[in-house]
């Protein structure tokens, strides 16, 4: 073993971090998110036991939340990873020199996202029932508006991510894997919004997913269908999807003017 060769390889990786902010941020990103999510989950559980309330159906709360969260994540990935597939395959240019319009391309990605979501959802629901006897369909017909809202939010996040990858290239690829999780702590997936500190509660109010997960808990606790929460989620989602599309078209125009579109495809 030669120290100079080991150090050469050590520096080869350290140089990467000097030139890539995204790689540097990623080192802290996941531990911080884990700390936030699991910290708030612990807080929620200890508050419940401290107040002497009867233990809620944790299996339903956590498994239901996990499966619904995956809908948002798969929907976002259905857009951004499908886009990356074209970049990795160097097929991007072939598509954009065909009569395919940007609008048609985005709609096709949204369809891919829905397909992935449905497949993953059905498999997860089946496994939850087989392994844990948890029937996700206790949410009944309410599950459809929950899913729809999460799919639309996933589309919006995916389209913004794709716009950023288009503009900043490979450096921004990491967003495709991690950006959805940025919303997890303030989406109150595994705990109610009231567990969050005040400033994070304000942020949660502008995240449509937080209304969906609050709604899911309301149904599980037998508090009825949360129409108001879902209307708020849906309204916010429409705003975010419109903004995401505007952002994507803006990025596309910039990238085209700078000649970066061709570079991305080769």
């Amino acid at each position: 073993m030669k120290l100079h060769r080991i150090l050469a390889m050590f520096w080869r990786h350290i140089y990467l971090y000097r030139h890539s902010i995204t790689r540097l941020v990623e080192i802290f990103y996941w531990p911080l998110l884990d700390l936030l999510v699991w910290g708030f989950v612990s807080l929620y559980i200890s508050r419940l036991s401290g107040e002497g309330k009867s233990t809620p159906n944790f299996l339903g709360l956590f498994l239901g939340a996990l499966i619904l969260w995956d809908i948002l994540f798969r929907s976002q990935q259905g857009i951004s990873v499908s886009f990356l597939e074209e970049v990795w395959a160097r097929n991007f240019l072939n598509l954009f020199v065909s009569p395919l319009t940007i609008g048609e391309y985005l709609v096709s990605l949204m369809l891919v996202a829905v397909f992935k979501v449905v497949v993953v959802f059905l498999i997860s629901a089946l496994l939850a029932w087989l392994l844990y006897s948890f029937n996700l369909f206790i949410l009944g017909i309410y599950i459809l508006p929950f899913m729809l809202n999460l799919i639309i939010l996933g589309w919006a996040i995916g389209i913004i991510t794709t716009g950023l990858i288009l503009r900043f290239g490979q450096q921004a690829e990491v967003l495709a894997w991690g950006i959805a999780f940025l919303f997890q702590p303030i989406s109150a997936v595994f705990y109610p919004v009231s567990v969050l500190p005040k400033f994070l509660q304000s942020l949660a109010r502008i995240i449509p997913a937080s209304y969906v997960f609050e709604g899911m808990r309301a149904v599980i606790f037998g508090r009825g269908f949360p129409t108001g929460l879902l209307v708020r989620a849906f309204s916010l989602n429409l705003v975010y999807l419109s903004l995401a599309l505007f952002f994507f078209f803006l990025m596309f125009r910039q990238v085209r003017a700078r000649g970066l579109l061709a570079r991305m495809g080769e």
Binding site: L93, N94, S98, R256
Partner: protein, 249 residues
């Protein structure tokens, strides 16, 4: 230029700047049905930028492009134009996990080809790809990949074909068959072809006319013989070497 027919492609005073760098400087030319126009020049001369401008992959700083009389800068017109033309480049690939046949079928759908299955099978035969038609694209050699790209370029029977280094990485036999096919298509279907290549012998053989670019400007145009005579070269390769070396001085 071919007799009295109208040009399918007209470029007037085309300029493309990237900040202070001028990649293309006031280029004008026309392309007619049934014509092969060769775009030559050293690396960085502006050939690829011109092709990207024609495909609408980047927008011109100034100047005008008309394809079939339409403006590719207008999205609806661009869609119509791209349905009637196609492009092939050695530097572009296709989805790795799809088989060659599946990939061609996807493009047939994208271009709205009628009788898509028959068209795909014809192209597989034409480009000698039958043996590898059901293999994933990631397993293809670079020569097979180039042939697949060419097959894709003919999927919609384009009236204009833009080719960037069409025979790079092909063996001499397949390269020769490709050249013969290009000449046949030009003749039988009256296809207009704009082609870049660093293979001067090939350009001399297939081109009706040439545009010689240097530093983003056209420095010579005409038939291969006219360009050779103008620079007092022995052949096109000799002319290319003279220009490229002068440019680097």
């Amino acid at each position: 230029m071919t007799g009295s027919s109208l040009p399918v492609l007209e470029v007037k005073n085309l300029t493309k700047n990237y900040n202070s760098f001028q990649a293309v400087k006031g280029v004008s030319f026309e392309l007619y049905p049934g014509e092969i126009l060769g775009l030559l020049g050293p690396n960085g001369a502006g050939k690829t930028t011109i092709i990207h401008l024609l495909l609408g992959l980047t927008s011109p700083t100034s100047g005008e492009i008309r394809i079939f009389g339409l403006n590719p800068e207008k999205p609806r017109q661009r869609e119509k134009i791209l349905g009637r033309m196609n492009f092939s480049s050695t530097y572009v690939a296709m989805p790795y996990s799809l088989t060659l046949r599946e990939s061609l079928q996807v493009f047939a759908r994208l271009y709205g080809v009628k009788k898509a299955r028959a068209k795909v099978e014809f192209l597989i035969e034409q480009f000698d790809l039958k043996e590898v038609a059901d293999r994933p694209i990631r397993t293809l050699s670079s020569g097979q990949m180039t042939r697949l790209n060419l097959a894709k370029a003919f999927i919609n029977d384009p009236e204009i074909l833009l080719l960037d280094e069409p025979t790079a990485s092909l063996d001499p036999d397949i390269a020769d068959r490709t050249r013969t096919y290009l000449k046949e298509v030009k003749k039988s279907k009256n296809t207009a072809i704009l082609c870049t290549s660093h293979n001067m012998q090939e350009m001399e053989e297939i081109s009706d006319h040439l545009l010689f670019l240097n530093h983003g400007e056209i420095i010579a145009r005409g038939t291969p013989q006219e360009v050779i005579s103008r620079f007092r070269g022995e052949d096109l390769e000799d002319v290319f070497l003279k220009i490229a070396r002068e440019a680097r001085l």
